[in-house]
């Protein structure tokens, strides 16, 4: 199962819909300070089922919804969709027939999030399991947050176990 694309709308500073293709190999993301690069990584972790607002640098989960800017009013909702290429059918059994799996998460201010897989509403738990089975997920050690690379070295041995478990 490969990750092909990320689509954001109303998520943090990405108020207008943005389509981000993720191709094989090395993709660089550049831009001045404060333009929204780290927000992209957070959109990826959020749609995979992230549960901690603090780990997304907010106080509550509503902080991921566009809060307004000089010429734009705040939004009431945000949505992120991730396209998974399932042509080699190694996704979850329930979706064995589907060559493409789309996972989306939508949040409405004050009302919490809903998840969908290929349009059908599902629980957060199911989304988290789908990504865990694919050796990734919101807390994967392979998604290295800004300033956190040395955390792996400074962590306690028990906290590093997760790395082994992901790979076992």
């Amino acid at each position: 199962m490969q990750i092909n694309r990320l689509r954001l709308s109303g998520f943090k500073s990405f108020v207008d819909p943005v389509d981000f293709p993720i191709a094989p190999g090395l993709t660089g993301v550049i831009g001045p300070n404060g333009c929204g690069k780290s927000n992209l990584l957070e959109a990826l972790r959020w749609v995979m089922g992230a549960t901690s607002a603090k780990a997304l640098r907010g106080e509550g989960m509503d902080d991921v919804i566009f809060a307004g800017a000089a010429g734009r009013p705040p939004r009431t909702h945000a949505e992120v969709t991730i396209d998974l290429d399932n042509t080699n059918r190694d996704g979850p059994a329930a979706f064995a027939a589907a060559p493409l799996i789309q996972v989306s998460r939508r949040i409405v201010r004050g009302q919490g999030s809903t998840f969908r897989i290929n349009g059908a509403e599902t629980r957060a738990r199911d989304v988290q399991l789908l990504f865990a089975d694919a050796s990734t997920g919101a807390n994967s050690p392979a998604l290295v947050r800004q300033g956190q690379i040395s955390e792996l070295i400074a962590a306690k041995p028990q906290n590093r176990r997760r790395i082994l478990e992901e790979a076992a």
Binding site: Q2, I3, K12, S13, V15, D16, V18, D19, F20, I22, A23, P24, G25, L26, T27, G28, V29, I30, G31, P32, G34, C35, K37, S38, L40, L41, L44, G68, A69, A70, G71, R72, A134, S135, T136, S140, P141, A142, L143, V144, Q146, Q148, I149, S150, E151, L152, I153, A154, K156, P157, Q158, N159, R160, R161, I163, L164, E165, E166, A167, A168
Partner: protein, 161 residues
């Protein structure tokens, strides 16, 4: 579960030793299972020492050395069991030019060996020049992010704006 964990540990440890000595051009590194006789309960201890040094405690390593060591560990896990995606948010920030080159060489090697897709968020022109493709995030309208595909020439202009 126990045999699988031990097997995964041994594969990761092997890759970690190789990747560390490649990045540091020498030195030695290893992983150890500690704090419990039962592998299913134990923690993962990292031991690594750059060439020519005698490191008693990992926390004495410098900022750049820690970033490189952590990268070696993350990539060792990929080689054992590739994750579909890896995002590195400015992990090259603490590195000097020579280590940025080594880091990029390793990224190149990983692209050839693992099916993982890599996203590298960076301000470093050296790293930019080693990517297969570049996306720029801009805020032409203050507070509103847009995504544009850029080529390397444009990237230099964007970084300077």
């Amino acid at each position: 579960g126990r045999e699988r964990l031990i097997a995964a540990f041994q594969v990761i440890d092997g890759h970690f030793r190789d990747l560390f000595t490649t990045l540091f051009q020498g030195g030695e590194a290893q992983l150890r299972l500690v704090e419990s006789a039962d592998p299913l309960e134990s923690g993962l201890e990292i031991y690594a020492c750059p060439p020519g040094k005698r490191l008693t405690v990992m926390s004495l390593m410098s900022g750049g050395e820690q970033a490189l060591t952590a990268t070696a560990l993350i990539f060792a896990v990929f080689l054992a069991h590739p994750a579909p995606i890896c995002v590195l948010d400015e992990v090259d920030a603490p590195l000097d030019d020579a280590n940025v080159e080594r880091f990029c060489n390793l990224l190149d090697a990983m692209r050839a060996r693992a099916a993982t897709r890599f996203l590298a968020i960076t301000h470093n022109p050296l790293t930019m020049s080693r990517m297969d493709r570049l996306f720029g995030v801009t805020m032409r309208e203050k507070g509103v992010s847009q995504l544009v595909s850029v080529d390397l020439g444009e990237a230099r202009a964007l970084a300077a704006s």
